[in-house]
């Protein structure tokens, strides 16, 4: 072992150096490796989490987009149906009002016609009566004979009736 001793191998010194190394090992572990490793792991974890979050957000966004599209489609359909309903109602109202108007017009026409007819009848009756009176007075004047007015009237009426019958036949 003489060779070793001349190189400087020395047991107490060696033990001190081993202790030195162990002290350095412990110190580096405590103050360098542990905190830095913790930070690296933490960061890796955070990165993973945020990636997952981004992925989830993207998926959610896609879903929301689909949902919105669906809503828009639904709204459009509803609007379409409302418009068509409104058009139907309008059509119906128009039809109804037209029918109403026609009916009323008919009623007015009918009434007017009836009134006209009664008026005409009345006028015709008046005219007839006038005519009969005129005829009677004329006849009385002609024959200077006073005829029973009642009888006469009846007579003319019959005559007229006959003439009407004749006209008809």
């Amino acid at each position: 072992m003489g060779g070793f001793a001349s190189l400087g191998v020395n047991l107490p010194l060696l033990v001190v150096f081993v202790i030195n190394f162990i002290v350095l090992f412990v110190l580096l572990r405590l103050f360098l490796y542990k905190p830095v490793m913790k930070m690296l792991d933490e960061r890796a974890k955070r990165t993973k989490e945020s990636m997952e979050l981004a992925e989830a957000t993207k998926k959610e966004f896609e879903q929301a987009k689909v949902e919105v599209q669906k809503q828009i489609e639904k709204g459009r359909q509803e609007a379409q149906s409302i418009i068509s309903q409104a058009m139907q109602v309008g059509e119906r109202l128009k039809e109804e009002s037209r029918q109403e108007a026609t009916k009323q017009a008919q009623v007015i026409v009918d009434r007017t016609r009836a009134e006209l007819e009664t008026e005409r009848d009345k006028i015709v009756g008046d005219l007839r009566r006038e005519f009969v009176d005129i005829a009677i007075s004329a006849a009385g004047k002609v024959i200077k004979e006073t005829l029973d007015k009642e009888k006469h009237h009846k007579l003319i009426e019959e005559t007229l009736q006959e003439s009407v019958v004749l006209k008809k036949s």
Binding site: S6, L7, G8, V9, N10, P12, L13, L14, V16, F17, V18, N20, F21, I22, V23, L24, F25, L27, L28, R29, F31, L32, Y33, P35, V36, M37, K38, M39, L40, E42, R43, R46
Partner: protein, 315 residues
């Protein structure tokens, strides 16, 4: 034109002074003066370098003498402690410059360990391997600072003993790291594959016991064969033990030899041609320090990887 003038500036203010200093050193230094027979001026009379393999004691505490290499290794530990406290002062998720540097060092070493040992065992092996790397490279680099080997005390017998000397050039330091490396490798091996399984690689008596059993049962031929192979296994186990122990020696003398040679190279180069001639050798020493640290930690890592991977059962 601007580039040209800046190049000219570099030439004038850097290369020419360096060349002049080199010339002065060559002519008036010990090499030149011995060839030319001139007596150099007083400031060039450099003391003849002496090579001391054992570390010189600087102080004595009781019977124990504190050597300059021990002081240097304490300096290394203090510097590393302060540096790691400084770099990991206020750790944040978004790192600043200091924290980024600490993370780069740790992550780089961790990637190195993972690339050799695999992810499974990397965390277990990391602390030991990284500490060996950092300790060796710091010892080597701190030793390149100017106050190493230059400031010291004159002992009673008139001999000069520097206050600090490169810790790696004391054979005790590489030996202590090698012992720790050995302890690391064996303990990791036992932790990874189990104590009995790990030790069975070294003391392999299974086949011999089998052979003895067969001999007792009456199968003479097979029994004798197994006993012979059992002896071979035992012998292989002994070789294995020796190879593990020899590793320590090779670790020790590889680091010790390289670092001591580097130290002597710088000493001799600065003695023969003083002033600037020694600068390239400092660069060389930077490279050697890195390489030695890589070799020491890398070999420890490789041995540890072999130890933690379960060896096949040969049937």
């Amino acid at each position: 034109m601007r580039i040209g003038s800046s190049r000219l500036k570099i030439l004038v203010f850097f290369f020419i002074p360096v060349l002049v200093l080199f010339g002065i050193g060559l002519v008036f230094g010990p090499l030149g003066s011995s060839f030319l027979g001139t007596t150099p001026p007083g400031i060039f009379q450099v003391p003849r370098p002496t090579v001391e393999l054992p570390a010189e004691p600087v102080f004595h505490v009781g019977h124990f003498s504190i050597t300059n290499t021990l002081l240097a290794s304490w300096l290394t530990i203090i510097v590393l402690l302060v540096l790691s406290l400084f770099l990991t002062h206020k750790m944040k998720l978004i790192p600043g410059k200091r924290q980024a540097m600490a993370e780069a060092i740790v992550e780089g070493l961790l990637n190195f360990v993972e690339s050799v040992a695999g992810k499974k065992h990397a965390r277990m092996l990391f602390s030991g391997v990284a500490t060996i790397f950092i300790y060796v490279i710091s010892n080597a680099y701190i030793a390149l600072l100017p106050f190493f080997g230059s400031i010291g005390v004159i002992e009673h017998d008139g001999k000069f003993a520097p206050l600090f000397r490169a810790a790696n050039t004391d054979v005790n330091v590489p030996l202590s790291i090698a012992i720790m490396s050995f302890i690391f490798v064996e303990s990791w091996g036992m932790r990874a594959v189990g104590v009995f399984h790990y030790l069975s690689e070294f003391i392999n008596v299974r086949q011999m016991v089998e052979g003895l059993k067969e001999l007792l049962k009456g199968k003479i031929g097979q029994g004798v064969m197994n006993i012979v192979f059992g002896f071979i296994n035992l012998f292989v186990g002994v070789l294995e033990i020796f190879s593990h122990l020899i590793r320590m020696l090779s670790f020790t003398f590889r680091l010790f030899g390289n670092m001591t040679a580097g130290e002597i190279l710088i000493l001799v180069s600065s003695f023969l041609i003083p002033l600037v001639f020694t600068i390239p050798f400092y660069g060389l020493e930077l490279l050697i320090g890195l390489i030695q640290a890589l070799i020491f930690s890398g070999l420890t890592l490789v041995f540890a990887t072999i130890a933690v991977s379960p060896h096949e059962e040969t049937e």
